[in-house]
Every structure is written in structure tokens, then in C-alpha cells.
Symmetry: C2
Subunit: 276 residues, 2 copies
Amino acid sequence: MIGIFDSGYGGLTVLKACIKALPQYDYLYLGDNLRVPYGSRSPETIQQFSEDALKFFFNKKIPLTIFACNTASAAALPYLQEKYLRTPNVTNKKVLGVIIPVAEKAARRTRNKRIAVIGTRATIASKAYEKELHKIDPSIRVFGVAAPLLTPLIEEGWHHKPEARSILKKYLAPVKDFAPDVLILGCTHYPIMHDVFEDILGPRVHVLDSSTAVADSLADYLKRHPEIESQLTKNADPSKPGTRIFTCTDSPERFSEFAKKFLGIGDATTVQKVQL
Amino acid sequence: MIGIFDSGYGGLTVLKACIKALPQYDYLYLGDNLRVPYGSRSPETIQQFSEDALKFFFNKKIPLTIFACNTASAAALPYLQEKYLRTPNVTNKKVLGVIIPVAEKAARRTRNKRIAVIGTRATIASKAYEKELHKIDPSIRVFGVAAPLLTPLIEEGWHHKPEARSILKKYLAPVKDFAPDVLILGCTHYPIMHDVFEDILGPRVHVLDSSTAVADSLADYLKRHPEIESQLTKNADPSKPGTRIFTCTDSPERFSEFAKKFLGIGDATTVQKVQL
């Protein structure tokens, strides 16, 4: 089973991309909708909440977990890697975040070496994308913009209304001035309004969706790590989809509402409420 | 000392109104910014979070606490009253919510007996205002509208931008059709855009701000309950302001940013982080 963790509902876009690329595996999704949103909280709190989630997957003996949440990947994963995952005697579990695969894809894609990132307040403040991009190529210039209103707009289902477009235009005005050729959508909700981003920025900016980057990176990781791949449960017939389990920490009703509305997946009866 | 509890920052509007009406008392404010917002969570979760807050005030031996948060007052206070406050042997502490004073003021004010309420998803779903208004006068017709985008817009400081006005217009369209003569602002953030509400609804609708209603009700309560009033600490010279203590459960920096921006009160050095 592959674990997918998000602070709430947005990680379902990552799950969807992973299922599309690798349908035969079993997936366990955890959305911490009791304490969502992480993006406006302090780094210490994001670390504490993410640690609770990681322990949930450890207790379920999940060999490989994806931190689908940009905020958790940016503000907590380096800390958790240090604490739990770099000491082989403590655990042989693996955790992949979204920052590294997305930064790698963005660095391969840029020609003018100007990359913009849009995300939550905490993701932008962490400078996590900037740090990873500079490890790959220190000459890349990075511009980050925090856009706290986009997630509420998307969760309210208003992402295609003129007000959402107008708000996004305001957020993107300094991005246009910076003139990047790649914009990283650094929050799992944003792919839902991918078309509006493209429309505002025009054809010269590639809008990079983290969900497909993570799915590609997962497929690549499993090829390179047969010792992890062999521990994953999956459907015996590789052409048939594996099991999907949905868990969340508050109302399962609201969770399945989002799963249906945004992604056409999930069902009220299959979402389990868990305690972290 | 008077306790003021809110899920985050919005209750500062209630504190401000209370300080204006009754400056001589000492106040202790608690904002649960670790777990804000409450308004989109399940009733069980709101009850659990509010119970944690109530115990914080009990432990500090605060004789009188105000639940400034509409969501907590609507979804949790009746449950907590039943569990802790109606059994005199358990505690002699008092808790006042915002729903009853605001409903009383609205009922006194209406002429056409049509009252609209705007608030969080949880406040509207609870029908708490409707229940209180119907206790006072069953012939009053009540219309509720959930407006989850207003709080993020206000917290982002965008409440006077055209996009905020346009979003508020959309929320208020069915309110205008209902043709009330009173609109209850059923969320502590909304007084910050009071002028925009008035502007959209016109002079025939009275926009009722819960913060001043709660302050008036507090003053009245203290007159009627000298046995509680006598337990409150205050400045010996009644013309001089008492002590104000600010506590929150996550970043004090972000807390004092809001306190300064919205209300001109608070200072980074005076906000304490606490655990519930």
C-alpha cells in the first residue's frame, strides 16, 4: 500500500494523478481535515501536525508515503527526514515529498532560468522551492508569491467565477513583471484552476502542476527501488485497479463531497474517520 | 478578569467593543489560532475544541467568560452549558455566548419580522439564531446564508477591494430577495466590512453587528449580577483601563499582526502562546 498524506482535500489531485499513472497499487489517503489549513500556521505547528500524520502511516506499516501537501513537504519534511528517516535502524520506511520532483521538473523545463512559485504563506516563507532549485542550478532566479485566497475560493466551488479570475490576476501581476517561463503551482488545490492560470499568463509561461510531477516521480522511484516496490501491495492482475482507502480526521461527509466534486472519486461509505 | 474566547482573531472585535463599554475590567483573550477556522468543521469537533478552551478559563478561575465566536456559541455552547454550567455543584462559573444577546437585539429591532443571518457554514447549519429568535417570537421569519469566503478575504486585508464587494454582492443577492429589515452579522470578522454590507443592502436594512450587542449585554449582565461582578478584577480607579492579557495557541507574531491591523490593539511582546 502507498500512503498519500495531505492537510485536507487538495492532495486528492495528487492521488488522482498517481492512480492514473500506477493504477495497480493499493493506496491509503489521509486528509487531516480536523486541522486544515496548514498553510497559515507556524513552522513548528506544521512540523507537529505532519509528525502525527507520519506516525499514522508508520503504525499502519506503510513502506512508502507521499507527502502530497506542499506546505507539509516544505515546512516539515526536512525536519522529519532528519528525525526519523535518515537513521536506518529506526525505520526502513520511505517518504517522498512534492518539492524535489517538482523543482527537478521545473529546472529541466526552464530556458530563461526564471521560475515563479505560487503557494500558501508557509510554503513561500519556507523558500523550499528556491533552495531545491538552487541546489540543481544556482543561476536560476526564483520569485515566490503567497496566494491564501485561492484555496478557499476553490473549496467554495467559485474557481471559475469572474471574482476568482480577478483575484488570481492580482496575485499574478508581480509574476508577470518577473517574466518567468515556468510557474510552479505549489499547492495541491491549484490544478483545479489550471486553465485560468494559463489563460492569464499566456503561452510563454509553462504552468507546472505538482500532481503529475509527483506521479511521474513515483513511477520512476519504484523502478529504481525494487526493494521498496516489492513491499507494496497491489492487484495481482496489473491491468486492474488496486484498493483505495480514504481516511480523514473530521467530517467524512464533507470529505467525500470534495472527493466527488473535484475528482469524481470517493464515496461517503468508504471514508473512515481516524484519530491522529 | 473577564475571559473572551474566539477560534482565532475575529473575537478581537468583541473585545474592542467590551473594552470601549467597560474599560475598567481586566480581560483575558484566548484565540485558538492553532485550529482556526472552526466554521467549516463538524459540530462534534467544534464541541471538543470549545470544551478545551472552556477548561483553559476554568483552570485560570475566570468567573465570567464570553464565547465571542459565533460558531462556538452556535454549535458548542448549548452542549457545554448542559455538561458543565447547569449543575451548580460542578462550577459557579458563567459563560455568555453571542447568539442570545444578538437575537434579542434583532427581535427588538425588526418591524417586518423578517431577519436574515450571515455566518460560517457551521453557524448557519446549526440554525442557532433561528431557534433563539423563534423562542422570542415564533412569527419571525429567518433566512440564513453561509459565506465562507468573507473571513479569508478580511484576513488577507482585501475587504475593501472590488473583488470582496463583488463576492459579498453574490452572497447577499438571496438576502435582498428575502427583504429583511435586519441582517445579523453572525461572525466576528464581518464588522470590519460593515460599511460594505450597508452600502450593498441600502438604508432599509439594519446591519446588526454582534460585537456591540455583546458588549451591551455584558454591561447589562454585570448590573443584574452583582455576585459575579464582585468577583471580577478591575482597576481600582474606574476611570482608568484594566489589564489586558492576550493568549493564543499558535504563532503570537501573526496574532499581534491582526490585533494591530484590525483593531489597533496588542503588541508582539504581550501575546503569550498557550497549550489547550
